[in-house]
């Protein structure tokens, strides 16, 4: 029974979900939003519980399920961000009169999947967590079922996502066959005891490299790194803006955590192989993301390509290795996630006539009509470029610094040049907002107070970046 303690937040979320699913059947159409409030309150309870766990000493570790401070901090971050995403989704769905409680139920299932996959110390649990997340994402992308684009995006993502799960499983099966275990620790000690080097190409080492390639392809696909990025623009454009907000933030952090957990435990002794593969992924992502984003006119599609470029930067951080690279990469991931959440939140709050914002040009002259909103978008865009007082500057700075420290100066120069190219499409949004003719049909919703508070908090975090970097080095220290 004492093992149940490790799963307490997950069990609590699952029981609330089961309760809400049944309760929702008996609610009248006008009272359906009660389910939303129950789920939101339960998230706050989970947040407080996880926060209290941080200050507990002597939590013994369970070999299958990891509740170290590192995963705990991840869970706190995801739950906190989910609360904000819930708020944006609720206000958006109410505004367009497409509210259904199932939306939030599926979102929480995805959150549950992420918590499970991050805590997993066993490949079966990892697989089940990833599947729970992907199944919820397939469903939530198809939520807007009267729209052709939404269902097309769902079909594409479904086929490619199921295929990438197949790749993950094939890699896991090879790993299992070679090492005879599914536990991270046992696998890594077996691989370490093989101690093979570059020259030794026995059957076992070839099998191991094969499984590494398969697992890495699957993770790169779910991360959105470049040769496997084709689903990202379609899904971002096809789904509702709050859904895009969810897809572009939380799963990215979860997959990032999986990647550094796998590379620092199972594949730790294969570093010469995976660091090269990650380098290729990173360079292609930064290149493709930044260059294709220039020609986009749809703001969600443009941000999709900017996501690919950011993923490339994160992978560049991972490439430089565990000593200082992971810290820089985690800092970058958190910054990217927060600012993407802020920008999609702002976009979801802007109406163009009766529909939501799609084209960049529709933002024309936002400054004349709603100067406060314009300033918020300005702050977020400047931070995504990496202008000094903002958080985005420190994120890029740490990644480039770790590249220089590890001796790859050419890559650092490449990263700087790509950042300059990337600033073009962010600056274009600012130019449209401040210098273009006014678009009369533009109208922000009335709920936007929270987005202002959110963006201002991010701005303050940029002025005191030590706060975030202290938390992050604490987290990496507990990995």
């Amino acid at each position: 029974m004492s093992y149940l303690f490790y799963f307490l937040p997950e069990i609590f979320i699952l029981s609330v979900l089961s309760f809400v699913i049944v309760l929702d059947l008996f609610l009248k159409e006008s009272k359906k939003n009660i389910s939303y409030y129950i789920l939101q309150i339960s998230l706050i309870i989970v947040f407080l519980y996880l926060f209290s766990l941080l200050f507990q000493k002597n939590i013994s570790n369970y070999e299958l399920y990891d509740i170290s401070n590192f995963t705990n901090l991840f869970k706190i971050f995801t739950v906190l961000l989910s609360i904000i995403i819930f708020y944006y989704s609720y206000s958006y769905l109410q505004r367009f009169k497409i509210y259904k409680s199932e939306y939030f139920i599926i979102l929480i299932f995805g959150l549950l999947g992420m918590m499970i996959m991050v805590s997993a110390n066993h490949l079966l649990i990892l697989y089940l967590g990833i599947e729970l997340l992907s199944l919820s994402l397939y469903t939530i992308i198809a939520y807007n079922r009267t729209s052709v684009r939404s269902s097309e995006a769902a079909v594409k993502y479904y086929i490619l996502g199921a295929m990438s799960s197949g790749f993950l499983l094939f890699g896991i099966s090879l790993l299992y066959g070679i090492t005879g275990s599914l536990l991270y620790d046992e696998i890594s000690s077996v691989i370490e005891s093989m101690n093979f080097n570059n020259q030794d190409f026995s059957t076992h080492s070839i099998g191991l490299i094969f499984s590494l390639i398969f697992i890495l392809i699957s993770i790169a696909f779910k991360f959105g790194a470049a040769p496997f990025h084709m689903w990202i623009p379609d899904v971002y454009e096809g789904s509702l803006t709050p859904t895009t907000l969810m897809i572009s933030t939380l799963p990215k952090v979860a997959i990032f955590v999986i990647l550094i957990k796998l590379t620092s435990s199972i594949f730790a002794s294969l570093e010469i192989y995976w660091s090269e593969m990650i380098l290729i992924l990173a360079v292609i992502s930064v290149l493709i993301g930044n260059i294709i984003a220039i020609s986009q006119t749809n703001i969600k599609r443009m941000l999709a390509y900017s996501t690919i470029a950011n993923v490339g930067f994160i992978l560049l951080g991972i490439y430089t290795g565990p000593e200082n690279g992971y810290e820089a990469a985690l800092f970058y991931t958190i910054t990217y996630t927060l600012f993407t959440a802020a920008v999609f939140g702002l976009i979801s709050e802007i109406n163009i006539g009766d529909s939501s914002l799609e084209k960049i040009d529709d933002l024309g002259g936002l400054n004349q009509k709603f100067p406060l909103m314009a300033v918020m978008i300005l702050i977020v865009m400047l931070s995504m470029i990496g202008i000094p007082p903002m958080l985005g500057f420190y994120a890029k700075f740490y990644v480039i610094q770790s590249l220089v420290l590890s001796g790859s100066t050419v890559l650092a120069i490449f990263a700087v040049i790509m950042t300059v190219i990337g600033s073009f499409y962010y600056l274009r949004v600012i130019k449209v907002i401040y210098f273009d003719d006014e678009n009369t049909s533009i109208s922000p919703s009335l709920y936007h107070l929270i987005s202002y508070v959110f963006v201002l908090t991010l701005f303050l975090l940029g002025i005191f970046p030590n706060l975030l970097s202290t938390i992050i080095s604490f987290a990496i220290g507990n990995l």
């Binding site: 079966l124 697989y127 089940l128 599947e131 199944l135 397939y138 469903t139 198809a142 079922r145 009267t146 729209s147 052709v148 684009r149 269902s151 097309e152 995006a153 769902a154 079909v155 594409k156 479904y158 086929i159 199921a162 295929m163 799960s165 197949g166 499983l169 094939f170 099966s173 090879l174 299992y176 066959g177 005879g180 275990s181 599914l182 623009p233 379609d234 454009e237 096809g238 986009q296 749809n298 599609r301």
Partner: protein, 101 residues
């Protein structure tokens, strides 16, 4: 006793056939779903062989989990295809091209 490598050859062959089925098929999404199913079955085959070879029960338990998950996965896939058919009146792969850029 048949060597393990023979079994592995068959499962990799099935995996490659299913991959080819996904990439070369230009007609029907349902055929893609069948290829996905074949892919997961080849993986199951792999797990069963390794479980038997290593005398370890974990591989065979893994297979049950995969079977359950792919059942749920194909249910969701078929539901999404029904949604697409309602708005498009077609499930041909060639007709899916509304999102470009």
């Amino acid at each position: 006793m048949i060597p393990v490598s023979y079994y592995l050859f068959i499962s990799s062959l099935l995996f490659s056939i299913s991959l080819a089925g996904i990439f070369l098929n230009r007609k029907n999404i349902l055929i893609m779903l069948m290829s996905l199913e074949l892919m997961f079955l080849s993986i199951n085959f792999n797990f069963i062989i390794f479980g038997n070879y290593l005398n370890d029960i974990a591989g065979q338990i893994f297979v049950f989990f995969i079977l359950t998950v792919i059942a749920a996965e194909s249910a969701i896939g078929l539901a999404i295809i029904i949604v697409l058919y309602r708005v498009r009146n077609s499930i041909n792969v060639d007709d899916i091209g509304g999102l470009k850029g």
